[in-house]
Structures are given as structure tokens and as C-alpha cells.
């Protein structure tokens, strides 16, 4: 992945809490075998309503989603992150996130920043008034900045380093191959294992 240090963009304010991954992308759009091409499924049902924020022509180029609490709750489908990314969303700001969604987001370079309720409410209100209102999510400094204000956010140190340096997650883990082998040698023999079905067809 390309190194990622910071993102600045205008805002898609989504004044809803508990936005679940079935809303972000309904299951019938999750049946592709690729990691791309999910933008059509993004909020597919809500986009049927003309006044839904993702239909606002003034926000067609907006890249920072600001949402209510518990954003991305629900299923583990990474398609939710792929759909947001394919639409062009680069960062999501909310008072809290579904755990699996947040982890999936960071794995794909979608910045998910958790801010206090009051800050999110303020950003939401201002962005609703002004489609040109810009927010910066600064990964290097772990801070979200807006005109006249800022707030730090927390992020898993490993995820941050992977994104800042553009590293391959699996390659970094495999640097600890020796530790993994040593662990495996100490595992109890009774733990279940499956007969490999074998063979390349």
C-alpha cells in the first residue's frame, strides 16, 4: 500500500447512529469475488431517497464521512469498507465504531477516527450548513483538525505504522516466523487438526 500520512476533504454528514454494515452495503451487493467495484452497493437503499446526503451534488467530491455513534456495527463484511473506499470516502469520523469495521477500515487505509460526542456534533452541524467545510485527519500527528479547532484521536500503534510506512501487514508478521514456529512446537498435541484433503487440482 502507498504510505498515508494525512487526508483533507469536505464532509458527508450522516446524522444517524448505529449505521450497520447491512446499510453500508446490503448483502446482495456482496457477492462479487473481487476487492473492488462495490460503489454501486454503497448505502444502496438509502440512496433511493433523493435527499440522502450521498445524492447531494454539492458533496459529490466529498471524502470525509461524519456519522453518529456505533458506525459500522454488525457483520464482518469488509465489503462495507471497500464500498466506502470505492465511492471515494477516505476517512470516517464518529463517536464510536463497530470493532470489526474499524479494524477492517485501517487494514484498507480508510482512516477511522473516534472523537468525543461534542466534537462530532459540532462538525456535523457545521458541515450540514456548509458543503465546503473542510476537515483534516492527520495520521502522522494522530489529530483531527478543522477551521478553528482540533482534537487528538487514538489509533493502534501497529496499524498506524503500517499505514504511515505503507508496509504489508502479513510481511511484517512473517518477520516473526521464528516465534511462530517456537509457539507451534509447544502446542498441546490433543488440539484438533483436520486431515488435509490434499492435492492441487
Amino acid at each position: 500500500m502507498e504510505p498515508l500520512t494525512s487526508h483533507t476533504g469536505t464532509v458527508l454528514p450522516l446524522r444517524r447512529s448505529d449505521v450497520d454494515t447491512d446499510q453500508i452495503i446490503p448483502s446482495e451487493y456482496c457477492r462479487r469475488l473481487s476487492k473492488t467495484g462495490y460503489q454501486d452497493g454503497l448505502f444502496a437503499r438509502w440512496r433511493e431517497q433523493p435527499d440522502f446526503v450521498f445524492n447531494d451534488p454539492a458533496r459529490a467530491a466529498s471524502t470525509v464521512l461524519v456519522a453518529g455513534a456505533n458506525f459500522g456495527t454488525g457483520s464482518s463484511r469488509e465489503h462495507a469498507v471497500w464500498a466506502l473506499r470505492d465511492w471515494g470516502v477516505a476517512a470516517v469520523i464518529a463517536p464510536s465504531f463497530g470493532d470489526i469495521f474499524r479494524r477492517n477500515a485501517l487494514k484498507n487505509g480508510l482512516l477511522a477516527a473516534q472523537l468525543p460526542d461534542e466534537d462530532v456534533a459540532q462538525l456535523m452541524a457545521r458541515a450540514e450548513q456548509d458543503a465546503s467545510y473542510e476537515i483534516t485527519v492527520d495520521l502522522a500527528g494522530c489529530v483531527v483538525r478543522w477551521p478553528g479547532g482540533s482534537c487528538p484521536f487514538e489509533i493502534d500503534g501497529r496499524a498506524r505504522r503500517l499505514l504511515l510506512e505503507g508496509l504489508d501487514d502479513i510481511a511484517v508478521t512473517l518477520e516473526r516466523q521464528d516465534d511462530i514456529v517456537a509457539y507451534e512446537q509447544g502446542r498441546p498435541a490433543w488440539l484438533p487438526a483436520f486431515a488435509p484433503t490434499g492435492g492441487v487440482n
Binding site: 446490503p26 457483520s75 516473526r176 511462530i180 498441546p188
Partner: protein, 472 residues
């Protein structure tokens, strides 16, 4: 100061410490994964990633795959082209990497969270992951089990590990004894209504107390399954005699000498007296009655005997807005008694309530009764083995005689990825786990219920408990 060795630890901490690869650092721990369950709907991109990087699957022998999310349940032949593509892909990937796969039509096929336990492949103290959020189900065995996304599926395939922050812990104490007819489903809907759909955010829950000890393994699986609906990362229950009795005749259990060694280890798997949880929630279950959801997240639940709440009564503006939107979607007016809500479809199945005990509870209600002519009822066993067991007990005859459909196994109407979807604004009483907007069909409306309430509802044509049927 006490040394780490003598510090009392929670069950989660014991499992965590026992699976940490290498020395502890200030960053996340690298956690070894004992069992990786795979299904067709979230794995294709992970296998593609391995192929692109030229990486092998590190431990195919610790990986087990099933076909469940997309498969039809009305036929053993897959005709939908996208489903065919999905299963063809998982078959090719499993063959290429030497991973055992239970295909659609195989007698061992079923929903991934039903199949793993019934094989005995999930045992106390293990770490279990799967690209599905309801992996928390396996916590019923005293395993640390949680759902992961596709990037993490690829990471586990390649390394058999995950880099994770140690989670916070929450004790959920269910005190008292539930009344007859009050199930694990009702306990969990009550918990979720109490703490909210995100109330356990970032925590692993340990369920404790008399009401938990009294549950069968099936009930414990229902309980742990629904942990994610309270926002938790996972939920688990310390193993006891119920756990070992369940495992004792399963095909993948340890045998002979190894069984004895395993038993000795399992006895250490409990929270030590004096161990500290980050949070504790206590729910007295003695006064609980069957629960049902009225809204569009599992926290929006009330006892069946109550009415649809009034959004204006919520002090919190976000909750008020969410309740208004939910009622609008659900087509319900505040103050409507839950028992007056008419139902079009009843879905009995899913990894939450698709086990044989669940089918028995529903069949007990349906025996000698008929599904209302206005209602369509689908019975979808959680696995082909559940189906076989149910047929041995004659449960299928009860369902068929009542006018319900008797299906093959799969996720089916839980998520509507196959053709089992609700048309229009149909209203469904469902034993599954999510009442989200559009989950069971574009504009469909879902009420989450226990199996006994589902069966009673099918007979009454409106939300009902077994006791309502006797009143005639």
C-alpha cells in the same frame, strides 16, 4: 506486590496469555489461532491475496471450510449463477491448499457456527476465528472466538496468527432462575435492551451465574452468538460438566490419554477468585418474560407483553431520532401492543437458533396445531446433521403436518444472500440475530424472537407466546 504468576486472572486473560506468540511488547500481541473456520462468502479475496503474493496457507490442518451463506435451502442443486461461482471458487481454493471443505449436499455441511461445535472441533481454551461476526458462538465452549474481516482472513491463512490489542473484559452476571419458556435468546435480548446495541463495545464478555450454568450447550451457543449484538468483540462461558458431556462423543474430540490431559487443562479454565473485570453488569432473570424486538437494531427490544414504545419518551436525542426512524421503517405506531402485530412469515433457523434443541422447542408448540393460513413458515436446520437428528425424532413430520416448509441447511433468510428473501414490506418473526433495515429483504421488517415464540406466532398469525395459544 504479587508476582504475575499468582495474580488472579480472568478466563479471557488465561486464554490470551496462553496464545501469545513470543514475548510481550508494548504494542499489540501476536495471538496464535487454533482453529480458522472459512466459508465461501468472505474468503475468495483472501485466497486471491495469497496467490498474488505467492504465499502458502500456513496450517491447512487448522483450517476448516463450509459452504453456507449463499447456498439454496430448497434444493441440493445450486442453479443461481453467482452462487455457483462462489462455491466453485471456494472448492478450487480449498483443493489447491489442502483444506477440508464440507460442500453443499454433504451430510456434514451446515452453518459454519453449527458445524464446528457439532464436530467437536471447538474445545475449551482454544482461539477460534472466522470471517463472520457471529463467530462469538464458539465462546460457549470456553474458547476465545471472534469474527474477522477478509484482510484478517488472509493474515490468518498466511501466518496462523493475528496482531491484536488485549481486549477489555466485562462480567455479565445472570442471577436467578428463568421461568419456563424464557430462553437464552430472551436473556440476551434483555441484556442488549439494557446496555444498548453498542453497550459492550470493545469488551469480551464472560457470562456467569446460575442461569448460565443451567443452560444446555445449545443455549450457551445462542447466548454467546448474540454477544456481537451487544457490541462485544466476543463472549464466553467457562467450561464445566455440561461442556465435557457435550464433547465426550464428538468425532474430533481428543481420545484416550489425550482426553485425560485435555480434561486436566480444561479444569484450569475459569476466572480466578479475586480476578478483576473492567466492567460488571448484573441482570436478574427471575422476572424475565419472552422478549421481542420492535425496532431495527437488537437493542430495541421489549417483553412480548408490552407495547411499542413512544420515541418521544427517550431523553437522549440520538436515541429518540433512532426510535422514530425505526418505527417509521417498521410501520408501527407507539403504544401498539406487541401481541397485536400481525406477521406474514416465520423463519426458524440460523446459527443463533437453528440447532436441534431449537427445533424441538418449536415442534413442541406446533404438535397438533396448524400454521395460520396467512403465514408462511420456513424451518431451516442449522446443519445437515441437525436435519438428520430432527428427522430421526420425527420433528420434520410435525413441521410438515403443521404446514411449515422443511428445508436443507444454510444461512438462508438470516441474511437473504440466497433466494430466501422477503418480498415487499412483509413482516417476519425470525429466530435469527439481526433486525436491521433490509436484512431479510429490501423493505422487509424483522422481529427477533425465540423458537417457541416463533412457532406460537406462526399459529396465531400475530406475535404470541405458547401460553397465548392455550387461551384460545
Amino acid at each position: 506486590m504479587t508476582t504475575p504468576r499468582t495474580t488472579p486472572r480472568t478466563l479471557v486473560e488465561k486464554i490470551w496469555d496462553g496464545h501469545r506468540v513470543g514475548a510481550a511488547t508494548d504494542g499489540p500481541d501476536l495471538l496464535y489461532i487454533d482453529l480458522h473456520l472459512v466459508h465461501e462468502a468472505t474468503s475468495a479475496q483472501a485466497f486471491d491475496g495469497l496467490r498474488l503474493a505467492g504465499r502458502p496457507v500456513r496450517r491447512p490442518d487448522l483450517t476448516l471450510a463450509v459452504e453456507d451463506h449463499n447456498v439454496p435451502t430448497d434444493s441440493l442443486v445450486i442453479t443461481d449463477p453467482i452462487s455457483v461461482e462462489q462455491v466453485t471458487t471456494v472448492r478450487r481454493n480449498c483443493a489447491e491448499h489442502g483444506i477440508e471443505l464440507f460442500r453443499h449436499g454433504d451430510g456434514r455441511q451446515g452453518i459454519v457456527h453449527v458445524v464446528g461445535p457439532e464436530l467437536g472441533a471447538v474445545q475449551p481454551g482454544m482461539t477460534v476465528v472466522c470471517g463472520d461476526s457471529h463467530t462469538s458462538t464458539h465462546g460457549a465452549f470456553g474458547a476465545l472466538a471472534f469474527g474477522i474481516g477478509t484482510s484478517d482472513v488472509e493474515h490468518v491463512l498466511a501466518t496462523q496468527t493475528l496482531a491484536l490489542q488485549r481486549p477489555r473484559t466485562m462480567a455479565v452476571e445472570f442471577t436467578g432462575v428463568p421461568a419456563p419458556g424464557v430462553t437464552a435468546k430472551d436473556l440476551m435480548l434483555a441484556l442488549t435492551a439494557h446496555i444498548g446495541a453498542n453497550g459492550a463495545h470493545g469488551h469480551v464478555l464472560e457470562y456467569r451465574g446460575e442461569a448460565v450454568r443451567g443452560l444446555s450447550m445449545e443455549g450457551r451457543m445462542t447466548m454467546c452468538n448474540l454477544s456481537i449484538e451487544a457490541g462485544a468483540r466476543a463472549g464466553l462461558i467457562a467450561p464445566d460438566d455440561t461442556t465435557t458431556a457435550y464433547l465426550a462423543d464428538r468425532p474430533r474430540r481428543p481420545t484416550g490419554e489425550a482426553w485425560q490431559r485435555a480434561l486436566a487443562h480444561w479444569e484450569t479454565l475459569h476466572t480466578d477468585p479475586g480476578a478483576v473485570f473492567d466492567h460488571t453488569v448484573t441482570i436478574d432473570v427471575a422476572d424475565l418474560t419472552p422478549m421481542v424486538t420492535w425496532g431495527t437494531n437488537p437493542g430495541q427490544a421489549v417483553p412480548l407483553g408490552e407495547s411499542v414504545p413512544d420515541p418521544e419518551a427517550y431523553p437522549d436525542p440520538a436515541e429518540r431520532a433512532a426510535a422514530r426512524r425505526a418505527l417509521d421503517y417498521m410501520g408501527l405506531a407507539p403504544g401498539t401492543p406487541m401481541r397485536d402485530i400481525g406477521i406474514d412469515t416465520v423463519f426458524l433457523g440460523s446459527c443463533t437458533n437453528g440447532r436441534v434443541e431449537d427445533l424441538r422447542a418449536a415442534a413442541q408448540v406446533l404438535r397438533g396445531r396448524k400454521v395460520s393460513p396467512d403465514v408462511r413458515m420456513l424451518v431451516v436446520p442449522g446443519s445437515m446433521q441437525v436435519r438428520e437428528q430432527a428427522e430421526q425424532e420425527g420433528l420434520h413430520e410435525v413441521f410438515l403436518a403443521a404446514g411449515a416448509e422443511w428445508r436443507f441447511s444454510g444461512c438462508s433468510m438470516c441474511l437473504g444472500m440466497n433466494s430466501d428473501r422477503l418480498p415487499g414490506r412483509e413482516r417476519c418473526a425470525s429466530t435469527s440475530n439481526r433486525n436491521y433495515e433490509g436484512r431479510q429483504g429490501r423493505t422487509a421488517r424483522t422481529h427477533l424472537v425465540s423458537p417457541a415464540v416463533a412457532a406460537s406466532t406462526a399459529v396465531a398469525g400475530r406475535l404470541a407466546a405458547p401460553s397465548d395459544l392455550d387461551r384460545g
